[in-house]
Symmetry: C2
Subunit: 324 residues, 2 copies
Protein backbone atom coordinates (compact mmCIF):
# COMPACT_ATOMS: atom_id res chain seq x y z
CA UNK A 1 0.00 0.00 0.00
CA UNK A 2 1.13 3.52 -0.84
CA UNK A 3 0.85 5.65 2.30
CA UNK A 4 -0.72 9.03 1.46
CA UNK A 5 -0.93 12.26 3.42
CA UNK A 6 -3.15 15.19 2.50
CA UNK A 7 -1.97 18.70 3.33
CA UNK A 8 -4.89 21.14 3.36
CA UNK A 9 -8.52 20.15 3.67
CA UNK A 10 -10.60 22.50 1.53
CA UNK A 11 -12.55 21.38 -1.53
CA UNK A 12 -9.43 20.02 -3.22
CA UNK A 13 -8.30 18.13 -0.11
CA UNK A 14 -11.74 16.53 0.07
CA UNK A 15 -11.43 15.57 -3.60
CA UNK A 16 -8.07 13.91 -2.94
CA UNK A 17 -9.56 12.08 0.03
CA UNK A 18 -12.41 10.73 -2.14
CA UNK A 19 -9.96 9.62 -4.84
CA UNK A 20 -7.74 7.85 -2.29
CA UNK A 21 -10.74 5.92 -1.02
CA UNK A 22 -11.27 4.61 -4.59
CA UNK A 23 -7.60 3.65 -5.07
CA UNK A 24 -7.08 0.04 -4.02
CA UNK A 25 -3.32 0.46 -3.63
CA UNK A 26 -3.48 3.45 -1.28
CA UNK A 27 -3.86 4.06 2.41
CA UNK A 28 -4.73 7.45 3.88
CA UNK A 29 -2.41 8.03 6.82
CA UNK A 30 -3.26 11.56 7.82
CA UNK A 31 -4.87 14.83 6.90
CA UNK A 32 -2.92 17.94 7.88
CA UNK A 33 -4.55 21.30 8.53
CA UNK A 34 -3.69 24.82 9.66
CA UNK A 35 -6.96 24.90 11.56
CA UNK A 36 -7.42 23.32 14.93
CA UNK A 37 -7.56 19.57 14.05
CA UNK A 38 -10.46 19.15 16.47
CA UNK A 39 -12.55 21.53 14.37
CA UNK A 40 -12.02 19.60 11.14
CA UNK A 41 -14.54 16.90 10.34
CA UNK A 42 -13.37 14.53 7.62
CA UNK A 43 -15.47 12.14 5.54
CA UNK A 44 -13.21 9.11 5.96
CA UNK A 45 -11.99 8.09 9.39
CA UNK A 46 -8.51 9.41 8.64
CA UNK A 47 -6.78 11.07 11.61
CA UNK A 48 -6.40 14.86 11.41
CA UNK A 49 -3.21 16.56 12.56
CA UNK A 50 -1.91 20.12 12.83
CA UNK A 51 0.63 21.38 10.32
CA UNK A 52 3.22 22.30 12.96
CA UNK A 53 4.32 18.72 13.50
CA UNK A 54 4.12 17.47 9.91
CA UNK A 55 7.86 16.66 9.58
CA UNK A 56 7.55 13.96 12.22
CA UNK A 57 5.52 11.94 9.68
CA UNK A 58 8.34 11.71 7.17
CA UNK A 59 8.84 7.98 7.66
CA UNK A 60 5.13 7.21 7.83
CA UNK A 61 4.03 8.80 4.55
CA UNK A 62 5.19 7.86 1.05
CA UNK A 63 3.61 10.79 -0.80
CA UNK A 64 2.19 14.05 0.57
CA UNK A 65 -0.52 15.51 -1.65
CA UNK A 66 -0.52 19.29 -1.33
CA UNK A 67 -3.95 20.88 -1.55
CA UNK A 68 -3.16 24.51 -0.84
CA UNK A 69 -3.66 27.43 -3.23
CA UNK A 70 -1.26 28.61 -5.91
CA UNK A 71 -1.33 32.27 -4.94
CA UNK A 72 0.17 32.12 -1.46
CA UNK A 73 0.42 28.52 -0.17
CA UNK A 74 2.25 26.41 -2.73
CA UNK A 75 5.12 28.75 -3.73
CA UNK A 76 6.57 28.26 -0.23
CA UNK A 77 4.83 25.06 0.90
CA UNK A 78 5.92 22.80 -1.96
CA UNK A 79 9.68 23.48 -1.65
CA UNK A 80 9.45 23.40 2.15
CA UNK A 81 7.65 20.05 2.36
CA UNK A 82 9.86 18.54 -0.36
CA UNK A 83 12.60 18.57 2.29
CA UNK A 84 10.73 15.78 4.09
CA UNK A 85 8.32 14.16 1.63
CA UNK A 86 7.75 13.09 -1.92
CA UNK A 87 5.03 15.53 -2.94
CA UNK A 88 2.41 16.19 -5.59
CA UNK A 89 0.88 19.63 -6.09
CA UNK A 90 -1.52 21.34 -8.51
CA UNK A 91 0.31 24.67 -8.83
CA UNK A 92 -1.63 26.41 -11.60
CA UNK A 93 -0.27 29.93 -12.06
CA UNK A 94 0.95 29.25 -15.61
CA UNK A 95 3.29 32.26 -15.74
CA UNK A 96 5.19 31.15 -12.63
CA UNK A 97 5.46 27.41 -13.23
CA UNK A 98 9.07 27.50 -14.42
CA UNK A 99 10.23 29.42 -11.34
CA UNK A 100 8.27 27.08 -9.09
CA UNK A 101 9.85 24.12 -10.91
CA UNK A 102 13.36 25.43 -10.30
CA UNK A 103 12.72 26.08 -6.61
CA UNK A 104 11.22 22.65 -6.02
CA UNK A 105 13.80 20.84 -8.16
CA UNK A 106 16.71 22.23 -6.14
CA UNK A 107 15.18 21.04 -2.86
CA UNK A 108 14.07 17.68 -4.21
CA UNK A 109 17.52 16.83 -5.54
CA UNK A 110 19.15 17.94 -2.29
CA UNK A 111 16.78 15.98 -0.07
CA UNK A 112 16.45 12.87 -2.27
CA UNK A 113 12.73 13.28 -2.99
CA UNK A 114 10.41 13.26 -5.97
CA UNK A 115 8.03 16.18 -6.49
CA UNK A 116 5.45 16.26 -9.26
CA UNK A 117 4.12 19.79 -9.69
CA UNK A 118 1.24 21.33 -11.65
CA UNK A 119 -0.85 18.19 -11.91
CA UNK A 120 -4.61 18.45 -12.40
CA UNK A 121 -6.26 19.16 -15.73
CA UNK A 122 -4.98 22.58 -16.79
CA UNK A 123 -2.10 22.56 -16.17
CA UNK A 124 -2.05 18.77 -16.33
CA UNK A 125 -4.12 16.64 -18.69
CA UNK A 126 -4.69 19.54 -21.07
CA UNK A 127 -0.94 20.27 -21.16
CA UNK A 128 -0.29 16.60 -21.89
CA UNK A 129 -2.68 16.74 -24.82
CA UNK A 130 -1.19 19.99 -26.12
CA UNK A 131 2.36 18.55 -26.18
CA UNK A 132 1.20 15.24 -27.67
CA UNK A 133 -0.91 16.84 -30.39
CA UNK A 134 1.80 19.32 -31.33
CA UNK A 135 4.46 16.61 -31.53
CA UNK A 136 2.27 14.53 -33.85
CA UNK A 137 0.89 17.31 -36.01
CA UNK A 138 3.59 20.01 -36.08
CA UNK A 139 1.99 21.82 -39.02
CA UNK A 140 -1.14 22.90 -37.14
CA UNK A 141 -2.62 25.05 -34.41
CA UNK A 142 -4.13 24.17 -31.07
CA UNK A 143 -6.86 25.89 -29.15
CA UNK A 144 -7.86 25.50 -25.52
CA UNK A 145 -11.38 26.33 -24.34
CA UNK A 146 -12.53 26.26 -20.73
CA UNK A 147 -15.99 25.51 -19.40
CA UNK A 148 -18.80 25.30 -18.98
CA UNK A 149 -17.49 25.90 -15.49
CA UNK A 150 -17.57 28.01 -12.38
CA UNK A 151 -14.83 30.60 -12.03
CA UNK A 152 -14.24 31.22 -8.34
CA UNK A 153 -12.23 34.39 -8.99
CA UNK A 154 -14.93 35.95 -11.15
CA UNK A 155 -17.68 34.95 -8.71
CA UNK A 156 -15.70 36.64 -5.93
CA UNK A 157 -15.25 39.79 -8.04
CA UNK A 158 -19.01 40.10 -8.45
CA UNK A 159 -19.58 39.56 -4.74
CA UNK A 160 -17.36 42.55 -3.95
CA UNK A 161 -19.73 44.94 -5.79
CA UNK A 162 -21.89 46.95 -3.31
CA UNK A 163 -25.45 45.61 -3.24
CA UNK A 164 -24.48 42.06 -4.19
CA UNK A 165 -25.27 39.38 -1.60
CA UNK A 166 -24.10 36.31 -3.53
CA UNK A 167 -23.02 35.40 -7.05
CA UNK A 168 -21.89 32.58 -9.26
CA UNK A 169 -20.13 33.08 -12.59
CA UNK A 170 -19.90 30.48 -15.37
CA UNK A 171 -17.33 30.63 -18.14
CA UNK A 172 -18.85 29.11 -21.29
CA UNK A 173 -17.09 28.33 -24.58
CA UNK A 174 -18.94 29.79 -27.55
CA UNK A 175 -20.34 26.99 -29.69
CA UNK A 176 -19.66 28.91 -32.92
CA UNK A 177 -15.99 29.33 -31.97
CA UNK A 178 -15.69 25.61 -31.20
CA UNK A 179 -17.22 24.76 -34.58
CA UNK A 180 -14.96 27.20 -36.41
CA UNK A 181 -11.90 25.61 -34.76
CA UNK A 182 -13.13 22.08 -35.48
CA UNK A 183 -13.65 22.97 -39.14
CA UNK A 184 -9.88 23.34 -39.48
CA UNK A 185 -10.14 26.92 -40.69
CA UNK A 186 -7.46 27.92 -38.19
CA UNK A 187 -9.28 31.08 -37.07
CA UNK A 188 -7.79 34.01 -35.19
CA UNK A 189 -10.01 34.25 -32.13
CA UNK A 190 -10.11 37.13 -29.67
CA UNK A 191 -10.88 36.66 -25.99
CA UNK A 192 -14.45 37.76 -26.74
CA UNK A 193 -14.79 35.27 -29.59
CA UNK A 194 -13.89 32.21 -27.50
CA UNK A 195 -15.84 32.43 -24.25
CA UNK A 196 -18.82 34.18 -22.76
CA UNK A 197 -19.44 34.91 -19.09
CA UNK A 198 -22.77 34.07 -17.53
CA UNK A 199 -23.47 35.57 -14.08
CA UNK A 200 -26.12 34.64 -11.53
CA UNK A 201 -26.46 37.38 -8.96
CA UNK A 202 -28.41 37.77 -5.70
CA UNK A 203 -29.04 41.43 -4.76
CA UNK A 204 -29.87 42.94 -1.42
CA UNK A 205 -33.21 44.74 -1.26
CA UNK A 206 -31.78 48.26 -1.54
CA UNK A 207 -29.59 47.53 -4.57
CA UNK A 208 -30.15 49.04 -8.01
CA UNK A 209 -30.02 46.18 -10.48
CA UNK A 210 -29.15 48.37 -13.48
CA UNK A 211 -26.17 49.82 -11.63
CA UNK A 212 -24.93 46.41 -10.53
CA UNK A 213 -25.29 45.03 -14.07
CA UNK A 214 -23.32 48.00 -15.41
CA UNK A 215 -20.64 47.54 -12.73
CA UNK A 216 -20.22 43.89 -13.69
CA UNK A 217 -20.20 44.36 -17.46
CA UNK A 218 -17.62 47.16 -17.39
CA UNK A 219 -15.23 45.60 -14.86
CA UNK A 220 -11.82 45.59 -16.59
CA UNK A 221 -9.88 42.28 -16.96
CA UNK A 222 -12.79 40.33 -15.50
CA UNK A 223 -15.79 41.12 -17.69
CA UNK A 224 -15.31 44.15 -19.97
CA UNK A 225 -13.48 42.08 -22.61
CA UNK A 226 -16.25 39.47 -22.78
CA UNK A 227 -19.87 39.13 -23.79
CA UNK A 228 -21.29 39.07 -20.29
CA UNK A 229 -24.80 38.07 -19.31
CA UNK A 230 -26.26 38.96 -15.92
CA UNK A 231 -29.26 37.17 -14.36
CA UNK A 232 -30.72 38.35 -11.07
CA UNK A 233 -32.09 35.47 -9.01
CA UNK A 234 -33.10 34.78 -5.42
CA UNK A 235 -30.77 33.24 -2.86
CA UNK A 236 -33.01 30.16 -2.86
CA UNK A 237 -32.62 29.72 -6.61
CA UNK A 238 -28.87 30.18 -6.39
CA UNK A 239 -28.61 27.65 -3.58
CA UNK A 240 -30.80 25.20 -5.43
CA UNK A 241 -29.31 25.38 -8.94
CA UNK A 242 -25.84 26.90 -8.67
CA UNK A 243 -24.06 25.38 -5.69
CA UNK A 244 -22.10 22.78 -7.68
CA UNK A 245 -18.55 23.35 -8.89
CA UNK A 246 -18.73 21.94 -12.43
CA UNK A 247 -16.03 22.57 -14.99
CA UNK A 248 -14.50 21.18 -18.13
CA UNK A 249 -13.10 22.25 -21.44
CA UNK A 250 -11.58 21.34 -24.76
CA UNK A 251 -8.15 21.05 -26.34
CA UNK A 252 -8.47 20.93 -30.12
CA UNK A 253 -5.69 20.81 -32.68
CA UNK A 254 -6.16 20.87 -36.43
CA UNK A 255 -3.46 20.72 -39.06
CA UNK A 256 -2.28 18.94 -42.15
CA UNK A 257 0.32 16.31 -43.04
CA UNK A 258 0.49 16.98 -46.79
CA UNK A 259 -1.17 19.59 -48.95
CA UNK A 260 -4.91 19.59 -48.25
CA UNK A 261 -4.84 16.46 -46.06
CA UNK A 262 -6.29 17.62 -42.76
CA UNK A 263 -6.66 16.08 -39.34
CA UNK A 264 -8.44 17.02 -36.12
CA UNK A 265 -7.52 15.87 -32.62
CA UNK A 266 -9.78 16.72 -29.70
CA UNK A 267 -9.66 16.07 -25.96
CA UNK A 268 -12.48 17.19 -23.73
CA UNK A 269 -13.64 17.01 -20.14
CA UNK A 270 -17.08 17.50 -18.64
CA UNK A 271 -16.83 17.47 -14.86
CA UNK A 272 -19.56 17.60 -12.24
CA UNK A 273 -16.97 18.62 -9.64
CA UNK A 274 -13.75 20.39 -10.52
CA UNK A 275 -12.06 19.70 -7.15
CA UNK A 276 -13.06 16.02 -7.08
CA UNK A 277 -11.71 15.47 -10.57
CA UNK A 278 -8.54 17.46 -9.93
CA UNK A 279 -8.06 15.41 -6.76
CA UNK A 280 -8.40 12.22 -8.81
CA UNK A 281 -5.72 13.36 -11.23
CA UNK A 282 -3.43 14.22 -8.30
CA UNK A 283 -3.89 10.78 -6.79
CA UNK A 284 -2.94 9.06 -10.08
CA UNK A 285 0.21 11.21 -10.14
CA UNK A 286 0.83 10.37 -6.48
CA UNK A 287 1.06 6.73 -7.59
CA UNK A 288 3.62 7.74 -10.22
CA UNK A 289 5.48 9.81 -7.63
CA UNK A 290 5.77 6.82 -5.31
CA UNK A 291 7.05 4.55 -8.08
CA UNK A 292 9.59 7.06 -9.34
CA UNK A 293 10.83 7.53 -5.76
CA UNK A 294 11.40 3.76 -5.60
CA UNK A 295 13.66 4.19 -8.65
CA UNK A 296 15.49 6.99 -6.77
CA UNK A 297 15.01 9.30 -9.75
CA UNK A 298 15.08 12.41 -7.54
CA UNK A 299 14.00 15.88 -8.57
CA UNK A 300 11.01 17.91 -9.65
CA UNK A 301 8.84 16.45 -12.42
CA UNK A 302 5.79 17.57 -14.34
CA UNK A 303 3.20 15.63 -16.33
CA UNK A 304 5.65 15.83 -19.26
CA UNK A 305 8.12 13.55 -17.41
CA UNK A 306 5.72 10.81 -16.42
CA UNK A 307 5.43 7.69 -18.56
CA UNK A 308 1.74 6.62 -18.62
CA UNK A 309 2.44 3.19 -17.10
CA UNK A 310 3.40 4.83 -13.78
CA UNK A 311 -0.16 6.13 -13.39
CA UNK A 312 -1.88 2.78 -13.69
CA UNK A 313 -2.56 0.31 -10.91
CA UNK A 314 -2.34 -2.56 -13.43
CA UNK A 315 0.70 -4.76 -14.09
CA UNK A 316 2.61 -3.86 -17.24
CA UNK A 317 1.97 -7.26 -18.85
CA UNK A 318 -1.74 -6.90 -18.19
CA UNK A 319 -1.71 -3.43 -19.78
CA UNK A 320 -0.12 -4.86 -22.92
CA UNK A 321 -2.64 -7.69 -23.05
CA UNK A 322 -5.81 -5.74 -22.28
CA UNK A 323 -5.38 -1.99 -22.73
CA UNK A 324 -2.86 -1.44 -25.52
Amino acid sequence: MIRIGICGYGNLGKGVEAACLQAQDMELVGIFTRRNPKDVKVKSNTPVYGMDNIESFQDKIDVMVLCGGSATDLPTQTPELTKYFNVVDSFDTHANIYTHYQNVDATAKKSGKVAIISTGWDPGLFSLNRILMEAILPNGTDYTFWGKGVSQGHSDAIRRIPGVVDARQYTIPKEEALELVRSGKNPNLSVRDKHLRDCYVVLDKAANSAQVEEAIKTMPNYFAEYDTYVHFISQEELDKHHKGIPHGGFVIRTGSTTNGVKHKLEFSLKLDSNPEFTGSVMVAYARACYRISKEKNWGCKTVFDIAPKYLSIEEYSSLLKHTL
Copy 2:
Protein backbone atom coordinates in the same frame (compact mmCIF):
# COMPACT_ATOMS: atom_id res chain seq x y z
CA MET B 1 19.65 15.75 -36.88
CA ILE B 2 18.06 12.38 -36.21
CA ARG B 3 18.87 10.08 -39.15
CA ILE B 4 15.76 8.13 -40.18
CA GLY B 5 15.31 5.07 -42.40
CA ILE B 6 11.97 3.85 -43.71
CA CYS B 7 11.50 0.13 -44.24
CA GLY B 8 8.58 -0.53 -46.61
CA TYR B 9 7.11 2.02 -48.99
CA GLY B 10 3.36 1.45 -49.21
CA ASN B 11 0.80 3.96 -47.97
CA LEU B 12 2.23 3.92 -44.44
CA GLY B 13 5.81 4.38 -45.67
CA LYS B 14 4.67 7.37 -47.68
CA GLY B 15 2.97 8.76 -44.57
CA VAL B 16 6.20 8.41 -42.56
CA GLU B 17 8.12 10.11 -45.38
CA ALA B 18 5.69 13.06 -45.34
CA ALA B 19 5.97 13.36 -41.55
CA CYS B 20 9.78 13.28 -41.65
CA LEU B 21 9.76 16.13 -44.14
CA GLN B 22 7.78 18.19 -41.59
CA ALA B 23 10.12 17.33 -38.70
CA GLN B 24 12.85 19.95 -38.43
CA ASP B 25 15.13 17.69 -36.39
CA MET B 26 15.08 14.75 -38.82
CA GLU B 27 16.93 13.71 -41.92
CA LEU B 28 15.71 10.94 -44.24
CA VAL B 29 18.69 8.75 -45.03
CA GLY B 30 17.09 5.96 -47.02
CA ILE B 31 13.93 4.14 -48.01
CA PHE B 32 14.22 0.35 -48.10
CA THR B 33 12.02 -1.82 -50.28
CA ARG B 34 11.54 -5.46 -51.26
CA ARG B 35 10.78 -4.33 -54.80
CA ASN B 36 13.46 -3.42 -57.29
CA PRO B 37 14.63 -0.01 -55.98
CA LYS B 38 14.66 1.32 -59.56
CA ASP B 39 10.92 0.72 -59.82
CA VAL B 40 10.10 2.73 -56.68
CA LYS B 41 9.43 6.42 -57.18
CA VAL B 42 9.52 8.39 -53.94
CA LYS B 43 8.12 11.86 -53.28
CA SER B 44 11.21 13.25 -51.55
CA ASN B 45 14.64 12.86 -53.11
CA THR B 46 15.56 10.18 -50.59
CA PRO B 47 17.66 7.33 -52.01
CA VAL B 48 15.90 3.97 -52.35
CA TYR B 49 17.70 0.74 -51.47
CA GLY B 50 16.93 -2.96 -51.56
CA MET B 51 16.20 -4.78 -48.30
CA ASP B 52 19.00 -7.35 -48.78
CA ASN B 53 21.75 -4.94 -47.79
CA ILE B 54 19.93 -3.09 -45.00
CA GLU B 55 22.34 -4.15 -42.20
CA SER B 56 25.16 -2.20 -43.83
CA PHE B 57 23.32 0.99 -42.85
CA GLN B 58 23.49 0.32 -39.15
CA ASP B 59 25.93 3.15 -38.44
CA LYS B 60 24.21 5.57 -40.80
CA ILE B 61 20.67 5.41 -39.39
CA ASP B 62 19.56 6.34 -35.86
CA VAL B 63 16.02 4.97 -36.06
CA MET B 64 14.48 2.61 -38.63
CA VAL B 65 10.73 3.12 -39.00
CA LEU B 66 9.08 -0.17 -39.98
CA CYS B 67 6.12 0.21 -42.33
CA GLY B 68 5.27 -3.42 -43.07
CA GLY B 69 2.03 -5.18 -42.18
CA SER B 70 1.16 -6.82 -38.88
CA ALA B 71 -0.03 -10.12 -40.36
CA THR B 72 3.18 -11.41 -41.96
CA ASP B 73 5.89 -8.71 -42.04
CA LEU B 74 6.36 -7.31 -38.56
CA PRO B 75 6.29 -10.50 -36.44
CA THR B 76 9.65 -11.46 -38.00
CA GLN B 77 10.90 -8.11 -39.32
CA THR B 78 10.80 -6.16 -36.07
CA PRO B 79 12.89 -8.64 -34.02
CA GLU B 80 15.24 -9.19 -36.98
CA LEU B 81 15.94 -5.50 -37.63
CA THR B 82 16.24 -4.77 -33.90
CA LYS B 83 19.56 -6.64 -34.12
CA TYR B 84 20.95 -3.70 -36.10
CA PHE B 85 18.74 -0.69 -35.51
CA ASN B 86 16.64 1.21 -33.04
CA VAL B 87 13.18 0.66 -34.49
CA VAL B 88 9.60 1.89 -34.33
CA ASP B 89 6.69 -0.19 -35.62
CA SER B 90 2.90 -0.01 -35.70
CA PHE B 91 2.14 -3.67 -34.94
CA ASP B 92 -1.62 -3.66 -34.47
CA THR B 93 -2.82 -7.23 -33.94
CA HIS B 94 -4.04 -6.55 -30.39
CA ALA B 95 -4.20 -10.22 -29.39
CA ASN B 96 -0.52 -10.82 -30.25
CA ILE B 97 1.06 -7.64 -28.90
CA TYR B 98 2.39 -9.24 -25.73
CA THR B 99 4.12 -12.06 -27.64
CA HIS B 100 5.54 -9.54 -30.12
CA TYR B 101 6.75 -7.44 -27.18
CA GLN B 102 8.57 -10.38 -25.62
CA ASN B 103 10.26 -11.34 -28.90
CA VAL B 104 11.41 -7.82 -29.63
CA ASP B 105 12.46 -7.12 -26.03
CA ALA B 106 14.81 -10.11 -25.93
CA THR B 107 16.59 -9.00 -29.12
CA ALA B 108 16.69 -5.31 -28.17
CA LYS B 109 18.30 -6.03 -24.81
CA LYS B 110 20.84 -8.38 -26.38
CA SER B 111 21.78 -5.99 -29.18
CA GLY B 112 21.68 -2.77 -27.16
CA LYS B 113 18.82 -1.17 -29.08
CA VAL B 114 15.54 0.58 -28.34
CA ALA B 115 12.37 -0.66 -30.06
CA ILE B 116 9.01 1.07 -29.67
CA ILE B 117 6.24 -1.19 -30.90
CA SER B 118 2.53 -0.72 -31.59
CA THR B 119 2.64 3.03 -32.12
CA GLY B 120 -0.02 4.74 -34.22
CA TRP B 121 -3.47 5.59 -32.95
CA ASP B 122 -5.07 2.25 -32.00
CA PRO B 123 -2.96 0.75 -30.62
CA GLY B 124 -1.19 3.98 -29.73
CA LEU B 125 -2.89 7.26 -28.90
CA PHE B 126 -6.16 5.52 -28.06
CA SER B 127 -4.34 3.10 -25.72
CA LEU B 128 -2.65 6.06 -24.05
CA ASN B 129 -6.02 7.66 -23.44
CA ARG B 130 -7.54 4.42 -22.15
CA ILE B 131 -4.77 3.95 -19.54
CA LEU B 132 -4.80 7.62 -18.55
CA MET B 133 -8.57 7.81 -18.19
CA GLU B 134 -8.77 4.57 -16.23
CA ALA B 135 -6.00 5.62 -13.85
CA ILE B 136 -7.77 8.90 -13.13
CA LEU B 137 -11.35 7.64 -12.96
CA PRO B 138 -11.11 4.03 -11.70
CA ASN B 139 -14.82 3.86 -10.92
CA GLY B 140 -16.00 4.09 -14.51
CA THR B 141 -16.17 2.45 -17.92
CA ASP B 142 -14.50 3.28 -21.20
CA TYR B 143 -15.73 2.78 -24.72
CA THR B 144 -13.80 2.90 -27.97
CA PHE B 145 -15.54 3.68 -31.25
CA TRP B 146 -13.87 3.58 -34.67
CA GLY B 147 -14.70 5.65 -37.71
CA LYS B 148 -16.00 7.10 -39.78
CA GLY B 149 -13.30 5.30 -41.69
CA VAL B 150 -12.37 2.95 -44.46
CA SER B 151 -11.77 -0.66 -43.48
CA GLN B 152 -9.37 -2.18 -45.98
CA GLY B 153 -10.15 -5.74 -44.86
CA HIS B 154 -13.89 -5.31 -45.27
CA SER B 155 -13.49 -3.58 -48.64
CA ASP B 156 -11.37 -6.54 -49.80
CA ALA B 157 -13.96 -9.02 -48.56
CA ILE B 158 -16.63 -7.36 -50.73
CA ARG B 159 -14.34 -7.33 -53.76
CA ARG B 160 -13.97 -11.10 -53.51
CA ILE B 161 -17.73 -11.61 -54.13
CA PRO B 162 -18.43 -12.72 -57.72
CA GLY B 163 -19.84 -9.87 -59.81
CA VAL B 164 -18.13 -7.12 -57.76
CA VAL B 165 -15.63 -4.97 -59.65
CA ASP B 166 -14.66 -2.57 -56.88
CA ALA B 167 -15.82 -1.66 -53.38
CA ARG B 168 -15.18 0.60 -50.45
CA GLN B 169 -16.48 -0.04 -46.94
CA TYR B 170 -16.88 2.57 -44.21
CA THR B 171 -17.18 1.73 -40.53
CA ILE B 172 -19.36 4.36 -38.86
CA PRO B 173 -20.05 4.79 -35.14
CA LYS B 174 -23.74 5.06 -34.38
CA GLU B 175 -24.59 8.52 -33.16
CA GLU B 176 -27.21 7.19 -30.71
CA ALA B 177 -24.61 4.86 -29.13
CA LEU B 178 -22.12 7.72 -28.78
CA GLU B 179 -24.78 9.85 -27.10
CA LEU B 180 -25.79 7.03 -24.77
CA VAL B 181 -22.17 6.57 -23.72
CA ARG B 182 -21.62 10.30 -23.28
CA SER B 183 -24.70 10.51 -21.07
CA GLY B 184 -22.86 8.42 -18.47
CA LYS B 185 -25.57 5.74 -18.45
CA ASN B 186 -22.86 3.09 -18.78
CA PRO B 187 -24.77 1.07 -21.41
CA ASN B 188 -24.09 -2.52 -22.42
CA LEU B 189 -23.56 -2.23 -26.16
CA SER B 190 -23.44 -5.10 -28.63
CA VAL B 191 -21.31 -5.03 -31.77
CA ARG B 192 -24.46 -4.08 -33.72
CA ASP B 193 -25.27 -1.25 -31.31
CA LYS B 194 -21.92 0.51 -31.67
CA HIS B 195 -21.10 0.65 -35.39
CA LEU B 196 -22.77 0.32 -38.75
CA ARG B 197 -21.13 -0.69 -42.02
CA ASP B 198 -21.71 1.36 -45.16
CA CYS B 199 -20.67 -0.24 -48.46
CA TYR B 200 -20.16 1.38 -51.86
CA VAL B 201 -20.06 -1.28 -54.55
CA VAL B 202 -19.34 -1.27 -58.29
CA LEU B 203 -20.90 -4.25 -60.14
CA ASP B 204 -20.01 -5.77 -63.46
CA LYS B 205 -22.78 -5.68 -66.06
CA ALA B 206 -23.85 -9.30 -65.65
CA ALA B 207 -24.11 -9.19 -61.85
CA ASN B 208 -27.37 -9.57 -59.91
CA SER B 209 -27.45 -6.71 -57.43
CA ALA B 210 -29.92 -8.44 -55.08
CA GLN B 211 -27.69 -11.48 -54.83
CA VAL B 212 -24.57 -9.40 -54.19
CA GLU B 213 -26.36 -7.38 -51.51
CA GLU B 214 -27.49 -10.61 -49.84
CA ALA B 215 -23.96 -12.06 -50.04
CA ILE B 216 -22.54 -8.97 -48.33
CA LYS B 217 -25.16 -8.65 -45.61
CA THR B 218 -24.94 -12.31 -44.57
CA MET B 219 -21.15 -12.65 -44.61
CA PRO B 220 -20.23 -13.98 -41.15
CA ASN B 221 -17.69 -12.05 -38.98
CA TYR B 222 -17.54 -9.25 -41.53
CA PHE B 223 -21.11 -8.02 -41.97
CA ALA B 224 -23.74 -10.38 -40.55
CA GLU B 225 -23.33 -9.01 -37.02
CA TYR B 226 -23.82 -5.42 -38.14
CA ASP B 227 -26.45 -3.15 -39.63
CA THR B 228 -25.03 -3.10 -43.13
CA TYR B 229 -26.02 -0.70 -45.91
CA VAL B 230 -25.15 -1.39 -49.55
CA HIS B 231 -25.06 1.28 -52.25
CA PHE B 232 -24.40 0.41 -55.88
CA ILE B 233 -22.51 3.12 -57.72
CA SER B 234 -20.48 3.50 -60.91
CA GLN B 235 -16.70 3.19 -61.01
CA GLU B 236 -16.51 6.90 -61.83
CA GLU B 237 -18.47 7.80 -58.70
CA LEU B 238 -16.32 5.51 -56.57
CA ASP B 239 -13.12 6.99 -57.99
CA LYS B 240 -14.40 10.51 -57.51
CA HIS B 241 -15.86 10.29 -54.00
CA HIS B 242 -14.38 7.22 -52.29
CA LYS B 243 -10.67 7.07 -53.05
CA GLY B 244 -9.51 8.69 -49.82
CA ILE B 245 -8.44 6.70 -46.74
CA PRO B 246 -10.12 8.66 -43.96
CA HIS B 247 -10.46 7.29 -40.44
CA GLY B 248 -10.90 8.36 -36.87
CA GLY B 249 -12.69 7.42 -33.71
CA PHE B 250 -13.47 8.10 -30.08
CA VAL B 251 -12.32 6.97 -26.65
CA ILE B 252 -14.88 7.96 -24.04
CA ARG B 253 -14.81 7.22 -20.33
CA THR B 254 -17.51 8.13 -17.87
CA GLY B 255 -17.51 7.46 -14.17
CA SER B 256 -17.95 9.00 -10.77
CA THR B 257 -15.70 10.14 -7.93
CA THR B 258 -18.32 10.22 -5.16
CA ASN B 259 -21.96 9.24 -5.14
CA GLY B 260 -23.73 10.92 -8.06
CA VAL B 261 -20.77 13.12 -9.01
CA LYS B 262 -20.07 12.20 -12.61
CA HIS B 263 -17.36 13.02 -15.09
CA LYS B 264 -16.80 12.44 -18.79
CA LEU B 265 -13.45 12.29 -20.58
CA GLU B 266 -13.33 12.10 -24.35
CA PHE B 267 -10.55 11.86 -26.92
CA SER B 268 -11.34 11.85 -30.62
CA LEU B 269 -9.64 11.86 -33.99
CA LYS B 270 -10.95 12.84 -37.42
CA LEU B 271 -8.38 12.00 -40.05
CA ASP B 272 -8.37 12.70 -43.77
CA SER B 273 -5.70 10.05 -44.23
CA ASN B 274 -5.19 7.15 -41.86
CA PRO B 275 -1.67 6.25 -43.16
CA GLU B 276 -0.43 9.85 -43.13
CA PHE B 277 -1.62 10.35 -39.56
CA THR B 278 -0.29 6.98 -38.39
CA GLY B 279 3.03 7.89 -40.03
CA SER B 280 3.06 11.17 -38.10
CA VAL B 281 2.55 9.36 -34.81
CA MET B 282 5.36 6.94 -35.67
CA VAL B 283 7.73 9.80 -36.42
CA ALA B 284 7.02 11.44 -33.05
CA TYR B 285 7.81 8.09 -31.39
CA ALA B 286 10.95 7.78 -33.55
CA ARG B 287 12.13 11.00 -31.86
CA ALA B 288 11.47 9.40 -28.47
CA CYS B 289 13.23 6.21 -29.60
CA TYR B 290 16.34 8.17 -30.55
CA ARG B 291 16.45 10.03 -27.24
CA ILE B 292 15.92 6.91 -25.17
CA SER B 293 18.71 5.20 -27.12
CA LYS B 294 20.98 8.10 -26.12
CA GLU B 295 20.15 7.23 -22.51
CA LYS B 296 21.09 3.59 -23.26
CA ASN B 297 17.78 2.44 -21.83
CA TRP B 298 17.72 -0.68 -24.03
CA GLY B 299 14.72 -2.89 -24.62
CA CYS B 300 11.27 -2.96 -26.12
CA LYS B 301 8.91 -0.12 -25.19
CA THR B 302 5.32 0.79 -25.93
CA VAL B 303 3.47 4.09 -25.74
CA PHE B 304 2.95 3.29 -22.03
CA ASP B 305 6.70 3.67 -21.38
CA ILE B 306 7.25 6.98 -23.12
CA ALA B 307 7.22 10.20 -21.10
CA PRO B 308 5.52 12.91 -23.20
CA LYS B 309 8.59 15.19 -23.22
CA TYR B 310 10.48 12.69 -25.38
CA LEU B 311 7.99 13.23 -28.21
CA SER B 312 8.39 16.98 -28.43
CA ILE B 313 10.97 18.88 -30.46
CA GLU B 314 10.88 21.71 -27.88
CA GLU B 315 13.34 22.23 -25.01
CA TYR B 316 12.00 21.15 -21.62
CA SER B 317 12.26 24.68 -20.17
CA SER B 318 10.30 26.05 -23.12
CA LEU B 319 7.62 23.40 -22.59
CA LEU B 320 7.26 24.46 -18.96
CA LYS B 321 7.04 28.11 -19.93
CA HIS B 322 4.69 27.85 -22.91
CA THR B 323 2.84 24.53 -23.05
CA LEU B 324 2.28 23.39 -19.45
